[in-house]
Amino acid sequence: MSLAIQNLQKVIPIRRVPLRKKIEILQKILGVQQFDLGVICVNNRTIQHLNSTYRKIHVPTDVLSFPFHENVKAGELPQPCFREEYNLGDIFLGVEYIYQQCQENKEDYYSILTVTLAHGLCHLLGYKHSTEAEWQQMYQKEKQILEELNRITGTNLQPLTKNLF
């Protein structure tokens, strides 16, 4: 229902309106427009702090997802009982990390931001990539979402999990 974007950093300029448009398309493709969602843009220091706190990994990363519904199975949607449960959770975007990666790999920043968002949303919906089987499932889902997004927007985006295994 409501998509709240917050920009907690000043390292990378963020255009909120185009970011919102992309996320809303992704939500529609996934069939989760009725759920609240938070997307928070943070710098390396903050994402590293979160990575360290919640995953005991002491380096910055591109995205961290904090699902509201922790027991959703990949391929299913949350089944809310009350209005307050129409919430997917929060996606923390390490925009500084993503930007640095794009500079190193000579990739388009906004494209990678979009595929990272798709990846983050999949995590909120129970998809994981700890095993090869989980990765396969997540990769297929991301591919499906991005194919639809590519069709709507005329882009050629590939899943973030493409070369993960």
Binding site: S2, L8, Q9, K10, R15, R16, R20
Partner: protein, 208 residues
């Protein structure tokens, strides 16, 4: 002429020391600059930043009075003396952004603020660096400003509209970088004014 009590003498001596200490921890001896081609004008505690771009005039005004939020008391960190903590006080004033287009009699006015960090936890910020609180149109002539013009309050505003307003400001140079630099400037100005006040107080209280 005037009263000269023992209390005044002690007060005066206290102020001499206080001024010395404050100057020691003064972070900026001169006011820090704001990037982006802003002209700065200061009248006492009020600062005004003005920028002109492509037929628009953008001004940002703030007052350093009452601009330091209460600090959550913490134990001094290892290796840090208790009085060194005072240099961490920052001034986060409310600020007003006015955007006037050359061919318009109206100015778009944004009342902005720095949300207070309620948790006091560093590294776990949970709000935007700055927020727009209210938006309204006012006549470009300040003397004609009215209370009866419609004021858009962002408390229950559609998020998409809010994002448009933030991007609008960012396009005019009022973004997170600007907000951070404004805090630096405001903190330096507030400290400067505080020291000036202490010096005036010392002069006023001083025993002849």
């Amino acid at each position: 002429g005037g009263l000269h009590t023992e209390g005044d003498k002690a007060f005066s001596e206290f102020l001499i020391n206080e001024i010395k200490e404050e100057k020691k921890i003064q972070k900026h001896k001169s006011l820090p600059k704001i990037s982006g081609g802003w002209e700065l004008d200061i009248q006492g505690t009020e600062a005004k930043l003005v920028r002109k771009v492509s037929g628009e005039k953008i001004s940002v005004t703030f007052n350093v009075n009452n601009s330091i939020p209460p600090v959550i008391e913490e134990e001094p960190q290892e290796g840090q003396k208790a009085d060194e903590q005072e240099s961490d006080l920052t001034s986060t004033p409310n600020f007003v952004v006015e955007v006037t287009k050359d061919d318009s009699k109206n100015t778009l006015v944004f009342d902005c603020h720095f949300p207070e960090d309620e948790t006091g936890n560093e590294g776990e910020e949970d709000s935007d660096i700055f927020e727009i609180q209210e938006v309204s149109f006012q006549p470009s002539e300040k003397s004609d400003w009215k209370e009866t013009n419609f004021t858009l309050n962002t408390d229950s505003l559609d998020w998409a509209l809010y994002d448009h307003l933030m991007d609008f400001l960012a396009d005019r140079g009022v973004d997170n970088t600007f907000a951070d630099e404004l805090v630096e400037l405001s903190t330096a100005l507030e400290h400067q004014e505080y020291i000036k006040f202490l010096e005036d107080l010392k002069g006023f209280v001083k025993c002849q």
